[in-house]
Amino acid sequence: MSTVKYKIKSALHDQQLYAAIQNASNLSTAKRDDQILGLDDYESSRDAAREVRQRSVDYSPRLIEKFTREFTALGGKVYIAANASEANRITINILKSHGAEKGVKSKSMVTEEIFLGRALESAGIDAVETDLGEYIVQLAGEKPSHITAPAMHKSRQSIGRLFAEKLGIKYTDDPAELTEVARGMLRERFLNAEFGISGANFLIAETGHIAIVENEGNVRLGLSIPPVYIAVTGIEKLLEKLADLSPLVKMLAKSATGQKFSGYFHLLKPSREGEDGPEEMHVILIDNGRSRAMADPEMREMMLCIRCGACLNECPVYKTIGGHAYDSTYPGPMGSVLSNLLGRNKMLHQELPDLSTLCGACKDVCPVRIDLPKLLLELRARREKPLSHNMLASGWKWTMESSSRVEVAGKFARMVEKVVPKVMSGGVKPGGPGSFRTQVEKRKSQVESPKSKIRTDDEQ
């Protein structure tokens, strides 16, 4: 059994998980709908957002160059990392050069993608996750199960038990109290942090700004207190100009958290003389398969993604099994595509494209209109097929080429209803003697009677 299959199986038997995910995704969907239904310019905003992202991906190399010029002119540093290990090495080198050992981190899926946390740990650097959900997941020794709501798979009771066990507090499952506990614990860490690491939602080539969206204020603290600040993000996140942010930040807030505008929006650049800001700022841009994906005419559309997570909340498969079953940093419909584009080689998560009914809900909610079902289908088609499947497929093709073969196959299928694929049996009683085709042919004489007008082709 594949790891994914195994994880699905255990997820299917975890009632607590199922309840948590159903509850959270339904609430997320409802909040999003509250923001979006009744907006008369929603569809045109989606077009605008897509246009900006399209431009961003089309001009990516040029924009990286321009951003680097602007950002370094102000004393910041920009690095391009070809892959995960290079990115981790760069980060560790920066921190080591400062002798920094303790710092804070804000939620970032890119750092999850490259396993930065693990790399820092083995380098003897302690980076605590400060986003509440991410903090919970780190305490539990898990990975996030959702790209914007890392602890979505956990009930308040299980978080209460986790806090009691790991933090030595009295058990409570009140979300407000638990939040307060985390706030208190992390305050100390913020005040003593030697560095802050976060992701970045966008980088602005025109001005050299880093744009970050958040709600908890942990990013704000992470870039206000420690002297060294590092932003880690993908090379596809460059925008041409500040004005490009408008359609994106609004769509992001609505689609990700059902907010009109996110709690905090940072437009950050290396501080000028006499201004308030971190003493040192670094931006690490990660490729890790992205330039390959951008050069792939069918797949580059995935690079438009703004990581809002709406397609996860809406996906009936994700809502049934949660994120961990996908066995990849990025779960859900977007993850089933993206996971196969990233890394040293393509198609590292070959099974994931099958984990979809192709219902199209993801495509319908995507704020930048990514045609996820189409990309999933494309990946299915690209995959090397095991021989047995190929034989099955050719068998099907051979059958479908001729209606008489369909007849024979159909008769056989009805006879062995229990063993043929569900698509042919559907668990129903076959509809009387023979198929529609047989019945039509048998009834040719009636067909020609004045009472019924149905004609078979050869009569024409």
């Binding site: 009914t357 088609a381 479908m400 369909v406």
Partner: protein, 262 residues
């Protein structure tokens, strides 16, 4: 009397496992005086192969489909999913030459049954009678790729004796997904259970829709999971069979054949 000429496409699943739906479709179209043809060489639109990632095989089915149907004035099928495959997904099959040309015009002439009745013929009352409590499950491909939601609703609203329930229920996938259900049967079944329980809430006697594949999946879910406390399991029925039922030819769950006569 309408003089529209229609070629009937009976998707393989319907042909093999839901003959009643095909006959009901014939009945409805004939009742409207439509000149109907059926080419018995037809097989499958290619969707199953396409969704499984076998593009070459799917292209073969598509070419055959195009060859058989390109002359038709209209092509009507009692399935949203197969119509969507032909209309939209053929674009991803790298068709070429005359196949591509013929498909480009053919795709504008293929319709799902209820869509055809309401949008093309402008008919929303075809004199049907079906004195039961009915809920709709909107199938994903019909809903999201063809925009079919108002049409079946309109038709059902005008069926004599029919009580509509579940009208405000959110649309969600039943969990079938063709090859998906074969590869992940347990997962597919759990999704089916979730959806079937949503559909049971208003105690419908029947659940209807425009795609037999989803309805069969739901039927299986109802059967496996039994009724919710205090509810009875609804039957599943393709919308064509509801629309084909009239006072002179009432619905008969056992009847499978044309006009219930043979």
């Amino acid at each position: 009397m309408l003089k529209t000429k229609v070629a009937l496409f009976v998707p393989c699943l319907v042909d093999q496992a839901a003959v009643q739906t095909a006959w009901a479709t014939v009945q409805i179209l004939e009742r409207l005086g439509i000149h109907l043809t059926y080419d018995s060489r037809q097989t499958c639109c290619g969707q199953a192969m396409f969704n499984a990632g076998y593009l070459n095989n799917a292209r073969g089915s598509a070419e055959k489909f195009i060859r058989l149907f390109h002359d038709a004035e209209y092509i009507i099928a009692p399935s949203g999913s197969c119509v969507s495959m032909v209309k939209h997904r053929y674009a991803d099959l790298d068709l070429s030459g005359s196949f591509l040309r013929d498909w480009e015009s053919l795709r504008l002439r293929i319709f799902e049954l209820t869509e055809f009745l309401v949008d093309n013929l402008g008919v929303d009352d075809i004199g049907s009678k079906f004195p039961f409590k009915v809920g709709i499950h909107n199938s994903c491909h019909a809903l999201r790729e063809l925009g079919i939601k108002a049409q079946p609703l309109k038709l059902l609203q005008n069926v004599e004796g029919l009580t509509l329930v579940n009208e405000d229920l959110v649309d969600e996938c039943c969990g079938f997904g063709g090859v998906f259900s074969a590869k992940y049967p347990e997962l597919s079944a759990k999704m089916g259970k979730h959806r079937s329980q949503q559909l049971e809430i208003d105690s419908p006697e029947f659940i209807t829709g425009v795609d037999d594949s989803c309805l069969m999946h739901l039927k299986q879910a109802f059967k496996t999971n039994g009724a919710l406390p205090g509810k009875t399991i609804p039957q599943t029925i393709h919308i064509a069979r509801i629309l084909a039922s009239t006072s002179s030819s009432p619905f008969d769950s056992e009847s499978y054949s044309y006009g219930g006569e043979v």
